[in-house]
Symmetry: C2
Subunit: 246 residues, 2 copies
């Protein structure tokens, strides 16, 4: 009987090679096939020599997992890649689900990466030093009412909030509604950090506030971090104090 | 006038060198002095040859930052290290605050790392695939009433919840109260993952549920991840589905 290959679900981190883990690099090098959304494949092109590369467009997540499993069942080690952390809105969950669904025995290793919120926070200063909530504004797979409820709960709880997928070409009103909900519980001058392409080529940073955040460019490559009641901006850095006495 | 050195605030990731970023490694190598809590200094001992090493005990965070700044003002590049991500309950915030307080001009680079919640999630499978809240149960610096409110809000919002600092020798009732609050809004059979020393030597993993979570060992080296209403356990992995149709 053919020995199955191993599946690596790899989080690449923010994109710049310097912020990828050594474990991720080795997993890719150990793979005979690499599967991923083409934008992410592009980030690791120098590691792909001699490998079978299967890139695909957006929203083909289930297809990508099926292709990955096929390769493993052919006896090949295979990496399926996500940017950031594969376990945060990435490929880890759906890959495990596809393998469970097919009722096959394949070894799977999930390799964590630096997720976008942490990368963006490091660029802004230290806005996530205290309790925080991570919320995706994409309502492709999640009921918008539930997302709104979560924004409300996170605001009432005075969490620092990191918003993923804040806006796309076809999805523009969610960030506006999110801001309105937050303004019911957070002050208009609450600091807001907007980071595009955090810790990779093309990085752009804006520090503004809830009142003015919509006056800045926000898209799918952007993470938006909204402070808690104690967050402040000083010397161009956004800081949420943990409460130490200086 | 003496040129000041650069301060690197470095997140080491979970502890195993394989999960540290190349940027973190280079920052430490570029430093003439390295400052940190002794347990973390231990993790990078092989990088420290020829460097001035300043280790200190727990709860000396402000002192550590002052020492770091002193070294930079002497003209030395210096790394101050945190495990995980320096921007999540780590040294990034307090370091920026100390430099602001002293009104000096020093270049500071915050280098992100893989935080404990992401490392623990990767070990458990894929429990944080959907919106999540990160909450520290340490009430050393934060009012316990505020922490309880956040646990309540995160539970009402059906967030996946990652608890940091869940329990220590002197602090045992917080995890019990946290569980009671969550049980008001989450079912007793909600999956709970308990990971000790995630992605480093001595890793231990338990998957249980809210009803039974207190029957397992929990301490300061542990992260506890509580699922949302859709989280399930299959083939020994904890999975929070994002909502894809298989």
């Amino acid at each position: 009987m053919l020995k199955t290959g191993k599946i690596y679900v790899v989080g690449l981190g923010p994109g710049d090679r310097l912020h990828m883990s050594e474990r991720a690099r080795r997993a890719i090098l150990d793979s005979e096939a690499v599967v991923g959304y083409k934008t992410y494949i592009h980030l690791i092109e120098d590691l792909l020599e001699g490998k079978e590369v299967i890139d695909s467009g957006m929203r083909k997540e289930v297809e990508r997992c099926n292709l990955t499993l096929d390769k493993a069942l052919e006896g090949k080690n295979v990496s399926i890649i996500s940017s950031g952390d594969a376990g945060v809105y990435g490929m880890a969950g759906i890959m495990l689900e596809v393998v469970n669904e097919k009722k096959v025995q394949v070894e799977i290793e999930v390799i964590p990466g630096i997720t976008a919120a942490n990368a963006a926070a490091s660029v802004l200063g230290a806005p996530m030093m205290h309790d925080f909530a991570v919320i995706s504004l994409s309502d492709l797979l999640t009921d918008w009412e539930l997302i709104k409820k979560r924004i409300e709960c996170a605001s009432i709880g005075d969490f620092v909030v990191a918003l993923y997928n804040p806006k796309s070409k076809g999805r523009v009103h969610q960030i506006e509604e999110a801001r309105e909900i937050m303004l019911k519980h957070k002050l208009p001058n609450t600091p807001v950090g907007i980071v595009r392409n955090a810790k990779r080529s093309g990085e752009e940073v804006v520090i503004t506030d809830l009142e003015n955040m919509l006056n800045h460019s926000i898209d799918m490559f952007t993470v938006v971090i909204i402070g808690n009641a104690k967050t402040y901006v000083k010397n161009g850095k956004m800081i949420t104090p943990r409460g130490y006495h200086l």
